[in-house]
Symmetry: C2
Subunit: 292 residues, 2 copies
């Protein structure tokens, strides 16, 4: 595989930083340029060797760039695309790491009308409750799934090259439509995050919050791990994907209404059956039965 | 501390087995007798050295026993108490490890009317998704909280001796009223379990369950870890503590209704504030701010 020349990473936190480190670890990039809104993060990323240079403006960043990765929270996509689009040359490929795809692609069609050939959206499935350049690591994507949602306008060579970059991180590539992507992740990622934030928020607002947290144990800790996720990033995801997420939330509320009825009736048999089915499904999943 | 003589453990799985192993590891017990409904578990426990001998009937088990630990799922308490009560001598102490306390204590008042002095209810806060004698380990309770809910009828020496036994496991003892116990654990343990079971069950019933599980990642795995818990044990807990649990579920549903409204209105600011407050509360908890 031919190494990349100049790669621009916009947003040098966990996601963008780990992409840069993965390419660097394999010697597959000549130069990584970081750009972003927080100077301190950029400087920290350079200090850590996550990026080589800092660009403050898009014309400077894009000069001679082979590939751009947009790795900011999805709520910043519009602003960043607006700023970069006028300076994007025809030979610079663009991909992103946005956790939602329909809204990002909508923004791509708005801002990159004449560049649709070279913009290949993606979403690496590798979150963590940590964020920032210090959390970045070269192996974050190793063995993880990376979803690509290519546009029908994409040049085949653009798709191929972007695939090479993501594959170089050690992730496994999967193609999906943006609609399919957003529905699937609303169910297995966005909803659980929302539920975990909701529980911690609700408990923390109680008069006896101190006592409740004082007796919370390992089950609570793991259940709520994702409630330590980045609030702004999750605001953006929830707002961007709110239609799919509302549908998932309503489905879940229906399930809870049913369980509520079983509890009210003290219907132990049905509860045990439900719990058993859940456990079996989860164990089958852990055993790899559903691996794509 | 004076070692225990004969200790009877009813239910030789994770909870009872770990209690036995902890006492054994410190040389604080002469003999551990196992009793329970599943012969294979008892034999496995003996094979693993978790117990020394197997008793098949209560008169045999209780003969000369200093302490009995009831460590079965709470749904079996009634049946076990009925069987053991006629054979319980005045010098044998009894404690339990039931995850709910009001129902266990109600059963104690029903079945042990003349033995209330010697029965000291407890609940060690140490679950795990594993169960059975193979999951038992001597350090399960080390550093964990152990709640005692003594009865007003208890002899002070009975409480003191039962405290010695639990303290020997390495856990930290806390006294609570049964009502307080059941409300606190409905909030921070029983409800999260119910929510996790509900999510996995709901996803597993979908037409595209395979695809959904195929793209579920680390967040989903941790959020649902407790959905791999023992179905029968959780049926019993949910049914026994259903009044407190319904109250918690309804409070949570109110929180979800509010979040649903924020999502519908695409109110990103309020969502971010809520997520941020949840994250801050969780981080404060992890940092030990709420340690009892």
């Amino acid at each position: 595989m031919k190494p990349f020349g100049r790669v621009v990473v916009c947003g040098v936190g966990l996601i963008g930083g780990s992409f840069a480190l993965a390419l660097k670890a394999k010697g597959l990039v000549r130069e990584v340029v970081g750009i972003g809104r927080t100077r301190a993060s950029l400087e920290r990323a350079r200090e850590l060797g996550v990026i080589d240079t800092i660009a403050t403006e898009w014309p400077e960043a894009l000069d001679g760039a082979e590939l751009v990765l947009l790795a900011m929270p999805v709520g910043q996509m519009e602003a960043v695309m607006t700023a970069m689009a006028p300076h994007l040359g025809p030979d610079t490929l663009v991909t992103d790491a946005g956790s939602t795809k329909r809204d990002v692609i909508e923004a791509v069609y708005t801002h990159f009308k004449t560049h649709l050939e070279q913009i290949v959206p993606a979403h690496p499935i590798a979150g963590a409750e940590k964020s920032g350049p210090d959390a970045a690591r070269a192996d974050l994507y190793a063995g993880r799934k990376i979803v690509l949602t290519p546009l029908s306008e994409n040049r085949p060579e653009a798709i191929a090259r972007v695939r090479e970059a993501w594959a170089a991180t050690g992730g496994h590539l999967h193609d999906m439509t943006p609609q399919e992507h957003d529905r699937v992740f609303a169910a297995v990622s966005h909803l659980p995050h929302l539920l975990a934030f909701a529980l911690v928020h609700e408990v923390s607002g109680r008069a006896n919050a101190e006592q409740l947290f004082g007796f919370a144990a390992g089950g609570f800790r793991d259940f709520t791990r994702i409630a330590s996720s980045h609030p702004e990033m999750w605001r953006d995801i929830c707002v961007a994907n709110r239609h799919a997420l509302l549908a998932e939330l309503d489905t879940y509320l229906t399930e809870l209404a049913w369980i509520r009825a079983l509890l009210s009736q003290a219907d132990g048999d049905s509860l045990q059956k439900l719990f058993g089915e859940a456990r079996d499904a989860r164990e089958a999943w852990l055993a790899g039965k559903f691996d794509a």
